[in-house]
Amino acid sequence: MKNEKRMKRIATYVFLILVSFIFFFPFYFLIVSITNPSIDITRGDLLPGSHLIENFRTMIETTPIGLSIWNSALVSVGQTIISIFVSSLAGYGFEVHPSRGKEVVYNIILLSMMIPFAALMVPLFRLFGTISGIVPALGIDTLFGVVLPYVSTAFLVFFFRQNTKMFPKELIEAGRIDGLSELGIFVKIFIPTMKTTYAAAGIVTFMNSWNNYLWPLIVLQSPSNYTVPLVISAMGSGYTIDYGSVMIAIFITTIPTAVIFFVLQKYFVQGMVGSIK
């Protein structure tokens, strides 16, 4: 009986190690590949080589990767700040000042969750064509155009409303007695109190924005405006592909999300799971 239990234990660990190996293997392949020349990567070389600096140089010289990292940073940071501010304002408004009319509006917002982005791409592209005609700086082929559809999303409004339920309402009264305006209460009391909620929402929004591919692919046209996923996709699908520089580009542009994940793991999980509790 005891022996059987131990065998089960060992089997569990063997299984878990095997599973971990499979899940980690593509990362290992990525890390090794950044040091190997193109030809070895296609042959599936699994040992580190000495081509790291050369791969890096090829990447810098032949692709606009540096510029795309800057574009992606602008888009992701901008989108994160704007959308969590606007959406949390709404979540707060719905929860702190509830009314029948607002419930109707809230349900309409939630309904937009059922609209898949794939269905939106054509009409949204046409809408941005119109916007381009009126304010070119916000339309097609601009970084603002990448951000605009995400200024407010149903998911974030929902997420902030759910989390506002935990916000102590006494603080609002206290703020009113201190003579703060409604917006003042929101900025000076609500935001600082809900720091962890903001961190969680911010991480999820940043990641989604950093990795977003379809909408930037549609709205951006000049390579100088490309975000990271567009450049990497273009690097990986040309006729002559330099695998080494693709791999190092992937490696470098995964670092931000990896750092966020490892440093802010707690908020990260909260941001993912928090919405369904």
Partner: protein
């Protein structure tokens, strides 16, 4: 005199209250305006466009012709079939794996839990484009995976993962499962931690085996979370785009082309036919609504 101050107080308070109501509506209406502009308005517009035919901006009103055309369009039928193959095989596979891992990794006495969890979750931080490319290289004809399979004597000749219609589909399913299993596992793990351990205690005393505990306690307790993850996965799969685009290019032929990719091709790759593309777009909305409704039904009924 007292009556007057009372009255002033009242109006003052009324004014303040009115001001608050007005402010709270502003808070709520700013994002609502954005959502209407960028979600609802385009969808209504799309329906209008879908009743038109033509290339580029020269559109003629043709009523429901585009919707009729869907049923005879072989490329559309292939895209729908592919999308549903991914949906039918990939989602159950992933949810079962995620459930299994989460139960394994929730055992109190297990060592190195944190490391195992992190490793299984790690794929979720990668961008879809990036991991698709890595998989393309891993699964190339003389790539690592074929070499490993041949080394283990599981196959005699390399599998043409990217060139064979069947294996290309398998590859997409493998790739998506790798990317999203850990992501779903996190939802199950956090739900498992909310289950009172006393329930399992009682089951053990009653002589329930581990398998029985899994099916009689864990699954029913996780039902709402499983429902949530299966609906989000469904919406994700029906919109599948990044992977076929970067991993298989939709090929070979149209073997892995999805509905999203077909919409993209109709609008931006071929001569733009926005009217027909809008009609195809509506098919995704219809599929999402039907499948979510079914899952909602199934997920709730057995409670």
């Amino acid at each position: 005199m007292t009556e007057m101050t009372e009255e002033i107080k009242k109006t003052k308070k009324g004014k303040l209250e009115r001001n608050r109501i007005w402010m709270s509506w502003t808070f709520v209406l700013i994002p609502t305006l954005f959502i209407i502009t960028f979600y609802f308005y385009p969808m209504i517009q799309a329906f209008w466009i879908s009743l038109h035919t033509g290339t580029g901006v020269n559109l003629d009103f043709t009523g429901l012709d585009n919707y009729r055309r869907l049923f005879n369009d072989q490329a559309f039928i292939t895209a729908v079939t592919n999308t549903f193959i991914f949906f039918i095989f990939q989602i159950p596979l992933m949810i079962i794996l995620a459930l299994f891992f989460s139960v394994l990794l929730n055992q109190k006495t297990l060592h190195f839990k944190g490391i195992f969890r992190t490793l299984v979750f790690l794929p979720a931080i990668t961008s879809l484009v990036a991991y698709s490319l890595i998989f393309r290289y891993l699964f190339s004809n003389d790539g690592v995976v074929n070499q490993a399979l041949m080394f283990m004597n599981l196959i005699d000749a390399p599998i043409f993962w990217l060139g064979d219609p069947f294996w290309a589909k398998v590859l997409i399913i493998i790739a998506i499962t790798w990317r999203w299993t850990g992501y779903n596992m996190i939802f199950y793990l956090s739900a498992l931690q909310n289950i009172d351990p006393g329930i399992y205690e009682a089951a053990r005393i009653d002589g329930a085996s581990a398998v029985q505990q899994f099916f009689r306690i864990t699954i029913p307790m996780l039902r709402p979370v499983i429902l949530f993850t299966s609906i989000t996965s469904t919406i994700g799969t029906l919109q599948l785009f990044d992977e076929p685009m970067n991993l298989t290019g939709g090929g070979p032929g149209n073997a892995t082309t999805t509905i999203s990719q077909y919409i993209y091709n109709l609008s931006f790759e071929y001569t733009p036919n926005f009217g027909y593309a809008a009609a195809v777009s509506y098919s995704i909305v219809v599929f999402v609504l039907i499948l979510s409704a079914i899952q909602f039904r199934v997920g709730r009924e057995r409670k």
